[in-house]
């Protein structure tokens, strides 16, 4: 499974309050897992409303990020208002907020 993040030609370090790796915007950059990459991937795999929310395990399968690292990034996305979580059948599930969706769409425009 590949990942697509956009490369900023200036090598920006942060996007939308999110830590970015160097040159990680608009290019493959699987070596640099980060919150922006996770935000984009959550959008592209379809976790865009509560009915399409995903568990940590499901997100981990798609993104190939380990659960502890994922939890840290997801918590940051929630703090920034880009993601939400809720508990269902004793499992935490995650999806993007409208602000999170708009953030991703702004990357694609």
């Amino acid at each position: 499974m590949g990942s697509s993040c956009y490369e900023d030609c200036r090598g920006l370090q942060k996007v939308g309050g999110i830590e970015l790796g160097e040159n990680s915007f608009r290019s493959y950059n699987a070596e640099q897992p980060n919150q922006l990459r996770l935000l984009v991937m959550l959008h592209n795999i379809g976790a865009t409303e509560s009915s399409k929310s995903l568990t940590i395990q499901q997100i981990s399968e798609w993104t190939r990020m380990e659960a502890p690292e994922l939890q840290t990034h997801l918590q940051k996305l929630i703090e920034l208002g880009y993601a939400q979580s809720f508990r269902s059948e004793e499992t935490d599930k995650y999806y993007l907020t409208i602000d999170g969706i708009r953030k991703v769409l702004s990357l694609y425009s």
């Binding site: 697509s4 379809g46 969706i101 702004s106």
Partner: protein, 387 residues
């Protein structure tokens, strides 16, 4: 005519200018007694089908996703195609109208499936947006854009500068490409907003100058050059305040540029603001700055003209066709903070002249940029193909 329109964005899914363009054009086509079937992507809270001012809006749900951007684009195109195939069982379309490369796969397949002509509107190009092709994704998108223009029976662009750009870059024959400008519904720009309270909401007092910049926070909008002009402007107008409206991936970079001016407290980043509020902001501002370095059309300049705010804009692309220097606005050099500061000073230092510019601008707007005229020209393009 029965017109099938395809766009990856349509309100409330608003990314850039394509959503508003599709909405304005579709409404005007309905007014001229055409049937519009608009196929787009789903958005939280929006139904999979609804009629909006007569436009039949179908929102395809992307049932399967993928982390990779281009794979995701291919997948949502597949679901758009499925939705269109379903609707075409009961609707005999006369023409398909595709907006930009993102919906091109579905448009091209569907053109073959229903054997009807396809019109493509190119709103911008990857080579222009990215100011070059520096990544594998950019190179792929550029190729898809070329393919879409090749497959289209007719291509529409919004300015002569875009026509020159795509004819040169994609090697298209001149007679395949028609120029039809963008438009705005001027009735939406008459606001009764209380200027004082709008300014107050954004921390600008009555006795201060409110300098507004509206656009996605991406490099092509040139906002960094506007920010770098701020120290110069403050030297001349210490009471000036700066409001930057929009969201985008460059936001943190721009905020750090704002800090480096030494005037961070005078600069406000609002993030995403709903259309109504943008109109109120424009109506309440002293100057609207459009510092783009790439702009196929520059609808924000038209919006500013409609609200009656004086416009200072870079002389690039479509902006150079929308604005007449010293008659409907002020042109400045792109990527030049000194020139931007000069343009803003031209407006702030001469309020009578600024008022004259805005009166000329409104007059030009009503004559040249109505959706009714755009719809009529677009139907002419359809008729050339349909017969």
């Amino acid at each position: 005519m029965k017109i099938g329109k395809l766009s990856w964005e349509f309100p409330p899914r608003v990314v850039g200018g394509i959503a508003r363009h599709c909405e304005g054009l579709a409404k005007a086509l309905i007014q001229q007694n055409h049937e519009v079937y608009l196929f787009t992507l789903d958005f939280p809270g929006s139904p999979s089908y609804e009629e909006m001012d007569g436009i039949k809006v179908y929102r395809a749900s992307t049932e399967l996703g993928h982390p990779n951007f281009l794979t995701w684009v291919l997948l949502f195109n597949h679901f758009l195609e499925k939705k269109m195939a379903e609707v075409s069982q009961s609707v005999d379309f006369d023409v398909m109208h595709v907006h930009d490369w993102l919906a091109a796969f579905a448009g091209i397949s569907f053109k073959r499936y229903v054997q009807k002509p396809m019109v493509l509107t190119v709103h911008s190009t990857e080579v222009g947006r990215a100011q070059g092709l520096r990544s594998a994704d950019s190179f792929s998108i550029d190729g898809i854009e070329w393919w879409a223009t090749y497959e289209a029976d007719k291509v529409i662009v919004c300015s002569q500068s875009m026509k020159n750009e795509i004819c040169g870059h994609f090697n298209l024959p001149q007679d395949k490409v028609d120029v039809i400008p963008n438009a705005i519904d001027t009735t939406q720009y008459h606001t009764t907003a209380d200027r004082g309270s709008v300014r107050q909401r954004y921390g600008v007092g009555w006795d201060e100058k409110m300098i507004l910049c509206v656009g996605r926070l991406v490099p092509q909008k040139g906002i960094e050059y506007f920010i770098r002009a701020i120290p110069n402007i403050i030297n001349r107008y210490p009471e000036a305040k700066f409001v930057i409206v929009g969201e985008g991936w460059s936001r943190d970079f721009l905020e750090s540029e704002a800090r480096s001016t030494g005037h961070r407290k005078k600069i406000r980043f609002t993030g995403f603001v709903p259309d109504r509020e943008v109109i109120d902001l424009m109506t309440s501002a002293d100057v609207l700055v459009v510092p783009s370095i790439y702009e196929p059309f520059g609808i924000v300049a038209l919006e500013g003209m409609a609200t009656g705010v004086p416009v200072v804009a870079s002389q690039v692309g479509g902006l150079s066709e929308v604005i007449e220097h010293n008659r409907t606005g002020i042109f400045v050099y792109p990527k030049s903070p000194e020139s931007i500061a000069w343009g803003i000073d031209r407006i702030l230092s001469d309020p009578d002249r600024a008022r004259w510019l805005t009166e000329n601008a409104k007059d030009k707007l009503e004559k040249a940029y109505s959706w009714e005229a755009v719809a009529m020209k677009t139907v002419e393009v359809y008729r050339k193909l349909v017969g």
